[in-house]
Symmetry: C2
Subunit: 197 residues, 2 copies
């Protein structure tokens, strides 16, 4: 009866992914059923299978799209010529902006990836590890140049990424704080915390 109408979002698969993202973020991947997703679109559950292969595929698509975005930007920054502290700031800003623009997907890639089936789980974890150690390498260079204060670079990466990832709890909570202010204050705390004095 009802029909999946692709909006500006693109294909019907995209509509499903979008609606599923909202639910995965709100209730978690495991607690979200295919019937939940179908209902939020206004369709019966089996109809979804005309457009997707499985529930897992939706999760996989979300996680790897986000991973690709982050990895792409990291590569851009790596080949740049700015100082390492400034490279770090660029990456933090990218994380924050992606978090504000696509926080449902970013949240899922951050918190629900553990439900990926193999071999995607291993692949994702590798990409994650790779990303973090390359970010740590940038920080380490900054530390060696005495531009960044002497801390364990992996701890610094952890601190940065976690701080940003927690933005989602603000995103949900009704935007009492202006997005730009949030970004600037968070940058201030993190960058001043890292800067060598």
């Amino acid at each position: 009866m009802a029909k999946i109408i692709p909006g500006k979002s693109g294909s019907k698969k995209d509509v499903i992914t979008l609606k599923a993202s909202t639910l995965f973020r709100k209730k978690g991947f495991s607690a979200t059923s295919m019937r939940d997703i179908a209902e939020s679109i206004g369709v019966e559950a089996p109809s979804l299978y005309n457009h997707i292969q499985s529930k897992n595929e939706i999760l996989k698509d979300i996680c790897f799209r986000i991973a690709r975005l982050f990895m792409g930007y990291l590569e851009e920054v790596e080949s740049g010529t700015q100082s390492n502290l400034s490279k770090t700031e660029s990456i933090i800003r990218f994380h924050i902006s992606l978090m504000t623009e696509e926080y449902e997907s970013v949240y899922i890639a951050d918190h629900e990836w553990k439900h990926l089936p193999e071999p995607f789980l291993s692949d994702f974890k590798n990409q994650r590890r790779n990303y973090r150690s390359r970010l740590a390498a940038i920080l380490q260079k900054g530390i060696d140049d005495k531009e960044i204060s002497k801390v364990n670079s992996h701890v610094a990466v952890l601190t940065i990424l976690s701080a940003i990832s927690g933005m989602e709890s603000w995103q949900r909570s009704g935007k009492k704080i202006d997005a730009k202010l949030l970004e600037e204050d968070m940058i201030k705390i993190l960058i001043e915390g890292l800067r060598n004095k």
Copy 2:
């Protein structure tokens, strides 16, 4: 056949809660079945109901115990006479130490509370909000005293709590970094990021 043997942990209910915590953290609350919990103890699922009321009760116990610990420490600090930056540091240190000592439970209280059934969900969210705004109040006083740099206090709270909450991903990853080093470096970044210059 097998029997639930209460170790040093206390009652049999405590054993169940402990084993459940490990699974809830590893697989998530929804993806963990009562059979999973039972198996990890070496017992059949229905036997668990001699000691607990429901799966939800386990989650409730975990979340509220952690909430009580944090709230208790906050009250202690609030009534202290140290500077506000130093109060903040105490609280950060408490968070970090609880995270290293009881990271499974802390992780669950941090990430799985959304699966609490009403009215516990509302109660928990209220406590959470209350805790955060009281922590923000401490920071605000520090800002007014020009001891802490001028940032939005709620953003600062968010940054601090999220940074610490991310420690769990290190906890899991095989402790390559020494716990004390992690604590000191994280404190360094956060406190130097907050200190007024």
